[in-house]
Symmetry: C2
Subunit: 142 residues, 2 copies
Amino acid sequence: MATTLTPPESLDWVFARPRTAKLGTVTASGAPHVAPIWVARDGDRIVFNTGADTAKGKALARDPRVSLCFDDEAPPFAFVIVSGTAEISEEPEALRHWAGVIGGRYMGEDQAEAYGERNGVPGELLVFVTPTKVVGVLDIAD
Amino acid sequence: MATTLTPPESLDWVFARPRTAKLGTVTASGAPHVAPIWVARDGDRIVFNTGADTAKGKALARDPRVSLCFDDEAPPFAFVIVSGTAEISEEPEALRHWAGVIGGRYMGEDQAEAYGERNGVPGELLVFVTPTKVVGVLDIAD
């Protein structure tokens, strides 16, 4: 039987291990675009880095609405979909801090500083997503 | 070093195992929406089922443009993003056939017939995506 999660349970599931988010944005022509990103948790917000000049960065500058999808790709399957609003920061200290936290989550703690230096630089954006709707379902195919 | 795949190599990577696609669509309000789906391969096309009354089904009826994202969530990381155009069929025999193929891919061959019966019914749509752009990158963090 499929199990529905509450929003807090959904975020706990998302951050229980370093899953990648699939970030949905809308291009200038109105077409959807989905790309994988690394994320970290800041309380109830989801944080990620992207370049100001990338497709993702430009889309967020036009429209702050995003969709973030996480899933288990094997039976019994599970997913969490977060709809939210993005706020962009270019504050150097926060950018470097979060770039390190995010890099460390996916590549190991010993890599955190290197990722902070690499991704905590001008031209990179720090994006905080405040969820407006969270849907989580476990054991879909059970 | 990251390796860029050609479009045919990208599709081979996608279908080498039963990965879920993260389907990006645009809602009526213009916001992005991403959800996981099961897919199968029909030559150069990607096939999936969805309900006519679901958010996905309604979005495709409004705008046939889709984005499909597949990724490896662990080092060295990899992804394929397929931008494409969806064509919808409700032809009963094809619907039942593909619902079985798709269910069998993810749940095992012994489940194919059950999924064909369950998802190959009126109200379900068969969606064929013809890729217009395919981007594939392996060994991103190497």
